[in-house]
Amino acid sequence: MQLLAAMLFLQNRQLTHLSPVDIIILLLYFAVVVFIGFYVKGSTNTSEEFFLAGRQMTAWIAGLSFVSANLGSLELMGWAGSAYQYGILATHWYWIGAIPAMLFLGIVMMPFYYISKTHSVPGYLQLRFGEGARGLAAVSFGFMTILMSGVNMYAMALVMKVILGWDINFSIWVGAATVALYVMLGGLRSAIINEVLQFVLIWAGAALIPILGLIEAGGWTNLKAQIAVNVGNTNYTHMWSTLGHFKDNPMGINWVGIVFGLGAIISFGYWTTDFLVVQRVLSAHNLRAAKMAPVLGAAFKMAVPLIVIVPGLLALGVLRDPHTHQLIHLVGENQVDAAHPYSYNEVLPLMLIRYCGPGLLGLGITALVAGFMSGMAGNVSAFSTVWTYDLYGAYMNKRAPDKHYVLMGRWSTIVGMLISIGTAYLVMNAASIMDYVQALFSFFIAPLFGTVILGMLWKRATNWGGFLGLLAGTVSSISMWIYTNFGTAAHKADALAHIALSRDAQPMANDMFRALWSWLICVAVTIAVSYMTTPRPESELNGLVYGATVIPDDGATRIWQKPIFWACIVAVVFVVLNIIFW
């Protein structure tokens, strides 16, 4: 949320303005997005069509949508800023922090999600662990998702205010109304079509920055040399060689935190159990497409650092004042002043303005708007599904006709968006709420992964084990967060040292280690309670658990049709890239 804090500080000035050709480009985008909503409305009449896009999507579409739902502009701008602040280490959030988990989802977990015919991740928990685990997961997910949507909405409005001087109320209401309209009309189908479109537009709008930037810098090797000269060391362009100890890298983290905290827990928690992204894959039209979608998504995800991380690194190397030719030093949001007018988080807009004149600037702004809207649509469509299936349909009205649930899905989209707007205004008046919303979201991800993975891979896990493990993991995560975030500065430093096992650890390491501990607690409690309680008969676990399920043939006959073949190729490229940028 550093980005938002910086934007709050800077909201009384604007970086640039749009010309008529930019406005034409932006209006074209809005026209197509709304048209898609009306166009697909006719084919979203059943709940399966509205909430799961009729399970008709190909692997390419589900895969692109899977990545796009996560590619919000807050993420783009935030990680570009992190790349400036921490160097190439930020790439870990796109590679080890995503690729292994995505491949694992496709090859190992997707068959269970898909053949269980669940509508949602809480729905899977209900099938596997009963109502307790489902209720806990559904309430926490629904609540957090809608709050996150509000934070995203406010972030979009603030970014538009800072870059273009737009009125915040205008941006909030136009963005929310557009997303609500196309999701309410076309449900997940409409959201997915738009997400694919948005993915293409994000690349069309942002890819010129690294291309022109690398031309200006004289190539990657020259850029690395310039960065080394500008920052005084070579730590900013190495991904692994500086991770031996917390003190050796700009992020204040070590390889244990990156590999186990980020790579093994946070990443797997997000990419395999966050329904916002998993819902996109559940829309696949057959098992093979469902397995291939995350694999294809992983391939595209590996390329995203080009448009996010490279601009941040380019700014370290080439961002100079056009008049004085002095290097521009970006600073933290609390240090912005007349001598240092820009913060880290303005890297992407600054680089956009540096290379893109009228027309291309409009395309870049459209890419940012598209990113925000895909993020909001992802949140609101996932919320509407979990609300309708796992809360309203599970606890309030179990036997309504299908049409009633579709209507509930449409209305919950509107209500969800209104709550998001309320959250956006709440955040506007009390910025610290953003930090709490972000933290709340992180409480559930790691323990949920512990519960789901044990549920899928271990037949002995019982209903009580699953529920109490999830509860214990969540409560422990909240407790650790309170322990490290409240009290005197000395207490906070001690607490961080205890959680991250080093006095040199920085706040980023805190998140990684908190996730690791809460996952371990969830798993330990689940195992202990499961051994003390009676397991379900194996016959009830068919389609839900490895070892109790005959996984149907996915129809692949030739090697290039097999998801595992492509997963291996993606894995090899992933390893090679990490070695190249070691």
Binding site: V21, I24, I25, L28, Y29, V32, I36, Y39, V40, G42, S43, T44, E49, A53, G54, Q56, M57, T58, I61, R189, I192, I193, V196, L197, V200, L201, A204, L208, L212, I215, E216, P322, I353, R354, Y355, C356, G357, P358, G359, L360, L363
Partner: protein, 80 residues
């Protein structure tokens, strides 16, 4: 079948992708040509490479390919 847009619909998702990028190419290419040949280059870094013109041309080609390749045809209508 119109890929991914649902039952009874003629337009593929890729057709939307094509139309959108084609429209942007149609806007950017002439604007880039006007900048280049009319001497109206913006004051951006590397403007001498005429990025608006070339990017507009790329989007036009990409968009044209997808629009034509995935244009609706009578046989596409899904009867499921």
């Amino acid at each position: 079948m119109a890929e991914g847009t649902g039952r009874g619909e003629l337009l593929s998702i890729w057709f939307f992708v094509g139309v959108m990028t084609l429209a942007y190419g149609i806007v950017l290419l002439p604007y880039g040509a006007w900048e280049w040949f009319g001497g109206h280059e913006p004051g951006t870094v590397l403007h001498e490479l005429h990025p608006t013109f070339w990017w507009g041309l790329l989007l036009l080609i990409f968009g044209s390919f997808y629009t034509i390749r995935y244009r609706p045809r009578p046989g596409d209508k899904d009867v499921a």
